[in-house]
Symmetry: C3
Subunit: 320 residues, 3 copies
């Protein structure tokens, strides 16, 4: 179960900025492609007042800062060059959808108008391959996001001649307590919630890729089996989002995961019928160019395990 | 608005030790000079029981450990070699100046006697270019520090034939809550406090360089304008301390800042009339030799933006 | 007082996984040997459901995951190659020994049966040089661990033809508050507790190596003197576990320590009669191949101080 997709992001939240430009991303996509990655998911094109591309609409409407660099254009250009497709994450206001004051129509308008602007300016790129809905929900309580997707997703699909819609929800397991202090979900609660949610978004969302890091390793395969079964029932394609960082290290929030744990998660996704594996997120956690030496070695172990030729010709020659 | 000064530090507090010696700092100052840095500020020569130079006075008076290496001598020597000037941070006892038991006379004596010892031993260096008062205050409530500076700063200036006095206060904005849990200051409270503080230290402190990271990006320029206006009113030179680490990343306290944010802050300081930009702190956050890969790329983006030739001749040749 | 031993670990807890394989550890042990390290201590062969070697017993008894790689075999093989000895840490269930429900007989059985299995499968290696008891106690309150060692240690020694038993307790000093929120121990409480504990394990545990990071630097030598004196009284060999990470940096839990502090601790251990220094832990904190640039420089400063030739012949040639 090789990883063939990864998130990328240039509007930092939890993970510090990489401060890369065209040259560094060019090198990175060449590496990604070489080890089998064919899909990038841009986590978000905007978040709160920060944008990764120039948007007259969002600068006026949401008082966003003007982006100094057009990362969206860069990713599309590099995806064309290296033969990858890009799922484009929409703008995310960071407004709290659990709050009664969350206005679905208002949020939908912002996302749709910025998506339209994006499609008008970048839709001619053959690498523009899909839309990513950025809201990371995990329970039925986030019903306002369902309503949002019901408005936004068909619109994005329509303006883009039917491009697919991707979501990447969490599972409200024992390791989600750090983020939202509430009781971990049981298998049956998870099944019940997502049976209902999938019923609401069937025909609207095309692909679901659950984040796989919030449940214990002992429970993981049972949760994955439910995800796969429910997605099939509701006609949604089921990928896994195999997190390449660890949630188990007390002292460091986002270090590269142990390679054995990554393999374990990927193989469990394979056994439960997932059709594709993406990761959050190749560059900081699995790349020799990332934030940690352990990331480079995670890639080496991963490539050894799946017998992937990771070094390029120049590197092979240097080693010979 | 290029960065032409940076803090350096070898008595670790929040930022881990670099464990560098003469050779590493020599290489670093060569790089600093090449990209336009002409001023170093040594954050502190001592803190609690730790010293960065041998001080018979502080070892006896404050029971400080003897320093294994004379970093003060090293910095002065390297500043001479590379043509930089060094502002020397005084000793900092870490005693709480908000406490009623804080004894201004006692603290002043320690700082003055250690400053005298330093000047006697190192004052002949032409690189000894100023004094840095290490207390990072942000509100009028720190009036005891004002009293301290009124005693200490004229003394330091007198013994050193008029060397300038630098301070680098904080702004008690929304991002200072992590450190001191209190309400963020408003623009008018900030103006009122610093009009009073500057009135007290006019003619005593020569240069102020506010830390620019504690207020929101939306508010920054308004705060900077007040700083610049008030400093001019009271005859104090106004620099900006453009922090090169991020205060916005939840999971990591001190990662390199996104390059767009650094540029944004520097340009806001330029528009509001600041005469010089320094940073806290080049080496861990902006150097290819620092703690993070993202620091190297921060420097590359920064140099691209300001069209600074960053590679040295050997490196340029290797790249050609 | 050179460091001649270090912990190694491949079952991550506080320190993120390195994701190294045979090649990386081969290079690392070659370096370790070159700078004078002759002893490795494998922190644990298993922890909770994670193992670093295949154990039919623990997979069945404790429902542990099967290890994808046999690190125990690898370390033994590499220790043979490079001429080091390996102390093998036992399995650790992570059960709370301060709880009344902690069952000493049950825990002892698990450790003894897994130790027997290890000895049967790996005992023929001449590098298998001792056993490490993984419980890190610091006070008399952990009397259940004493009872555990009284059962387990003689058994391990017996099946292995008398291999030595090592423990590495903490000192319940001011810096242990992060872990267990309780009052710091006084010198006399520490002496009283450990006089009793050593009395209980005399003839059972051969070597004690206290972790040296939980007490203040001002108190350290007094604590070390007690440790050395009590160990001698009870016929236990006394090493120091000189932690190479810092407990003083607020923002980062486990960065490399300042080199001056490491030297200070080692020299204090020398003055108080410790016979050997080990560290927790060379690879992440002192190695050029570790997690932090500062670790590489910690090794350089350490080697300069003790006049150790650190570069190998190839590197020396490259530098000439």
């Amino acid at each position: 179960m090789r990883i063939t997709g990864t998130f990328v992001n240039t509007v930092p939240g939890d993970i510090p900025a990489a401060n890369w430009g065209y040259e560094e991303w060019d090198r990175e996509l060449e590496l990604m492609k070489r080890i089998g990655i064919d899909t990038l998911i841009l986590l978000r094109t905007g978040w709160k007042e920060w944008l990764c591309y120039p948007s007259k609409y969002l600068q006026a409407k949401m008082d966003c800062f003007e982006s100094l660099y057009d990362y969206l254009k860069m990713y599309l250009s590099l995806c064309e060059k290296h033969g990858l497709r890009l799922f484009v994450g929409t703008y995310n206001s960071n407004h709290d959808w659990l709050s009664a004051s969350y206005d679905v129509d208002y949020e939908a308008e912002i996302i749709m108008k910025s998506a339209k602007e994006m499609w008008d300016n970048y839709g001619s790129s053959p690498a523009f391959g899909g839309w990513y809905m950025t809201q990371e929900i995990s329970r039925k309580e986030s019903f306002r996001v369902i309503e949002l997707w019901q408005k936004v997703a068909p619109y994005c699909k329509e303006i883009s001649n039917g491009l697919p819609i991707l979501i990447s929800p969490g599972m409200a397991g024992v390791k989600s307590g750090n983020v939202h202090p509430r009781m971990a979900v049981t298998l049956e609660e998870h099944r019940s919630d997502w049976d209902w949610i999938f019923g609401q978004i069937s025909g609207i969302v095309d692909i679901v890729a659950f984040q796989d890091g919030h449940v214990s390793f002992k429970e993981l395969e049972n949760f994955l089996a439910i995800n796969s079964e429910l997605a099939a029932k509701h006609g949604i394609e089921c990928w896994t989002n195999a997190e390449s960082f660890s949630r188990d290290i007390g002292s460091t929030n986002f270090p590269p995961i142990a390679w054995e744990k990554l393999i374990m998660k990927l193989e469990a996704a394979k056994r439960t019928g997932h059709s594709k594996a993406i990761t959050y997120e190749f560059t900081p956690f699995m790349s020799p160019n990332g934030n940690y030496p352990a990331g480079k070695y995670l890639l080496e172990r991963y490539c050894e395990y799946y017998e992937i030729l990771y070094k390029n010709k120049v590197q092979e020659k240097e080693m010979a």
